[in-house]
Symmetry: D2
Subunit: 345 residues, 4 copies
């Protein structure tokens, strides 16, 4: 069975293990005060072109989302999110457990627009009963989104402009940030993101690390006491250097981007193969996740040899699946899949 189910089925990029092995007996300061964390943080600020940013390392995505969001909002405020946002549907109510409503806005493709944000904001403040309604306190988006779509530079500029005008901090969930930045045709760079968002994170778990998310805070008002929050929400790893080492390896040179590019390139090859055979796609993704719609019998045939994530039934005869590549996907496996797509569909 060749697996295209998700982008976190394997361990970590071998270079990460190499450095973990090599440094195993070093005695380092704990809780993120070690040199690897410091160097990785410096490197991230450099890559973001924001020497003034604050960088923190946490273990996982849900934890990062709840720590950041609960750190920003006051109790009566909620976070604007697309309905499909990870915080709204796949974190067992972690945000609500910190006391805040997710203010979910419907979208066709998982992407919010500047107009939607402004509309929501205006509707709130124009409602004469607004004190009886959760106040929008920040905006949450993902890049790429849970459906593989990405923001263009112009789109993010518009969102950022609106957010700054109306005073809502903008938080970008970058659990798969590498795949977003290296998306086919993307014009949105890491410095752009650092400049346009108030806080975001560079995802490690799904992009070659064993685990780990690097939070970058560029807005001064959001920096205060963030380490207290990390500790309180359970995200302060005792052996913090494990996070530092991983991000150091991924970012010291361009490894993070290379492996992201690798995954995207393979995904686009798969995409082309499905396209050639006339398959439609549930979402127009140019990242490492593809959502082709297949006749059920053909899907059954392919599934004998390949594992995909079932996404949803489209009609009686066809289903959408998610085909996922990653830093660890082998090109030969992709070529074999393509050849079978051509044969079977």
């Amino acid at each position: 069975m060749i697996r295209f189910e998700c982008d976190y089925a394997e361990g970590a990029h071998p270079k990460i293990l190499e450095l973990l092995n090599a440094t195993n007996f070093d005695q380092t300061p704990v809780y993120g005060a070690d040199d690897y964390c410091l160097r990785a943080a410096e490197r991230i600020k450099e890559l973001c072109d924001r020497k003034d940013a604050e960088v923190h390392f946490l273990v996982g995505g849900t934890q990062t989302n709840m720590t950041v969001i609960s750190s920003v909002l006051r109790p009566h405020q909620g976070v604007i999110s697309p309905v499909t946002g990870h915080i709204n549907i796949h974190e067992t109510g972690a945000i609500e457990a910190t006391g805040h409503k997710v203010l979910a806005i419907g979208t066709p493709d998982g992407k919010l627009t500047a107009e939607q944000i402004r509309e929501y904001y205006d509707a709130h403040w124009n409602d004469e009963d607004h004190e009886h309604i959760v106040q929008p306190g920040m905006v949450y988006i993902s890049h790429p989104t849970e459906t593989g779509t990405t923001y263009s530079k112009a789109e993010l500029q518009a969102i950022s402009g609106t957010c700054r005008e109306i005073g809502l901090p903008l938080f970008l969930d970058g659990a798969r940030l590498g795949y977003g930045i290296m998306a086919d045709g993307s014009d949105l760079s890491l410095p752009d993101i650092a400049r346009l968002c108030d806080v975001f994170y560079i995802g490690g778990t799904k992009v070659g690390a064993l685990f780990g998310e690097a939070v970058v805070i560029t807005n001064n008002a959001l920096k205060k006491d963030f380490r207290y929050l990390i500790k309180q929400r359970g995200g302060m790893l005792a052996k913090g250097r494990l996070l530092g080492i991983q991000f150091f390896v991924l970012l010291e040179r361009e490894l993070y981007f290379e492996i992201s590019h690798h995954a995207v390139r393979l995904a686009m090859m798969i995409r082309e193969a499905f396209k050639e055979k006339g398959c439609a796609f549930l979402y127009d993704s140019h990242t490492n996740q593809q959502f082709p719609i297949l006749p059920k019998d053909k899907l059954a045939e392919l599934s004998k040899k390949y594992a995909f994530a079932f996404w949803k039934d489209i009609d009686e005869g066809s289903s959408a699946i998610r085909v996922c590549t990653s830093w660890a996907t082998k090109e030969e496996d992709v070529r074999e899949l393509i050849s079978d797509i051509r044969k079977i569909i």
Copy 2:
């Protein structure tokens, strides 16, 4: 200006004030342990035909909703509610502030159906990632709903049957319960509600009291330590007798139902008048709240003399308003309004 804006603009039914005055210097036990509370609770159990029920008095609706819901749910559970449910849109996130997501389901008229509940439940448990999703832990409905609609006995039986089959406690928000029970054509009685719900409340604030909501818990599993919860959520009135006295006056005889009937009868007269003039209604309400749709110029004309609550614009030329009667509405004012409707529209 004659006001039809809401059902809590006045003080309380004069008989309540009478007893408050008469008992003002009595020294009574505090925090709800006084005789008036005990007698009102007994009377409520009698009216509900549930001698085994537990009755508690709280001050307001938001407080009651958050106290009941946070008392029932475990941290990973949410409460199923119509999108238009008061807890979802008009309580500044009070439920989320206790850590729980409101699982909002769209409805045309503010009413959930048994089928919707079962579907939501099945969808949750059939999702292989269900541990990543907030678990439905109870069901919240209002009777009447925020849009004035009511459940029939058959509908509530179906909902209750489903809830019991799938193990979700059913909570009925009765902030306007009197108006629901006395709704034109309603076949749902207080004993029905007590039998079919696990917990519900009899609203006082909007039905003739100065304030106060009487929670009735019929499900034994939900009774434990409820007074701790009331205290923690700020709902335990020091001079608890104020609540006992009010519900005693409202329920000792049938005052609560009489004044509810009065309000509904007047509302139905207004409804007829609008109907005669060909007005459509935003919701099909047979309770004290009516939502006629009027041409904007006619509305402007009527508004010179009468105050309504603006609800929403329907199109360029017309708006829906809420016309509200209450225990305090005078029949002569209603007759005058009707006569003006006939003249102006």
Copy 3:
């Protein structure tokens, strides 16, 4: 049985009922936007000599404490309080339920000192692991305290000075504020309190109202969106005018202070009687609560005719009780008690 158990066993001062009766059929704006609320708020600002203050009316003390405290703190912060503080021991964890630790400091008499606050603050910031410890974010005191003791002007100035120096907002719980201000020998006035605290409240429930606490916010930074918080925590009374009317009656003239003085005067008479007979006191209270220590047999004798609150056993032969007067206590009852003290002890 003549009752000296607590200061909230009766209803309200008759003048309050008078105005409630007189205005019962007025139709007023809801949720505290009515004229009575506005006028009461204006009057409070005048009495506080702080035209720039913001005044809000809530229903009860626990509710007020949790609303104010959760409005001020960020998630990783706690509130410094005496161990005996009401929030620490008698609110069923309402503060913790909003996510915050009560940082309790031991005291002999329920009063914090400026030195204790500074020490706690310094100890936190000098601890190199301070990010692993709840950060002190504000200070909570009561005046009078739960043990009837009061702060002098010099003491409150010292506390306030320290709090401002170290940047911790100072919150004063004034559930019995009237009795504190009118305490025998007190030199601390309402304008002093308004000047020295960042937020405090004027208690109504225990000083002649049916219920109600008037929050006064003088620190601009704490004013933002406070009404959202009141709504979320369940404290926004639909018929808000009930609160406005009560505080209007109590404060328009000097009624609040007169009835407080009345209670304190009677309490001091009782105190003298116990003192004459050689009784010691558990706390040195000059307010309406007295804590004499009595031989158990004498207490039993007195208790045949008078109700007190049992406080705690001192040794095998003696107990401390609380004797409480209030706005409603009759001088003749006090004289009778004193005569019996003289006879029995």
Copy 4:
């Protein structure tokens, strides 16, 4: 500099890295459903002699504590803990952030007694105002404690007996469990702990793993939906196998206990050396943490070559320090330290 500051300064036992390396490219199910997790869980149940137990793997201690505790308690309940309990003083209020008060009881040595628990429980239920006080809902202890002390079998039996009698689940924090079980002279085994507690955890982070805590739930009533809670609190590692692999390596054979024994043996050698020189100890620890009290000048001398954790000043001339060994401590370093202790003190 030879470091005895803490037991988590290094990476992991080399055998763990070995297996991580060997399995790095395996594609496994995510979120803890992989074979390594299953096998490690089976092995733990075997070692605990509790085939019916449920085992879950989380990342860190604070996270584990808050997940377990918030899973057990209802909103009005708190957790009884020694004042020195990690949850009370070193987790930035993580427990309070989930809504619950830590009910802290003073102890001389970090250990609760059965009597203290019963006393607290009785005091609560005998207080006539108990509904105004946080209800004790469970008991938290650590083994070894934060001060290195351990429970004897008889002590834990007494605590467990009391807890079961009064119906409070007993939770044992085993962040350093290996060092407790292998403590010098300890008669408390893993099966004892599994039998006497309702839920506990086997700490990995401080006993040879990169990170990870294995929660063992033996009480059926506490098993329900625990994975939802792990997800909600941010503890569900995407690549869950990393936890499975580590605990598999540590427990498959007796590695966990061997390395714990190693650390304890070295600590006891250090202890003897200090003892010989007449040093007193702040706590009577027979585990890997030793708390000798040293003259400040001698401490300064030793500190030129060795790193310790400063604990607290005892008087002007002497301080208590923590000397910590671990799975990674080299015997030669300990011998060198001992020789220097003999020379310098």
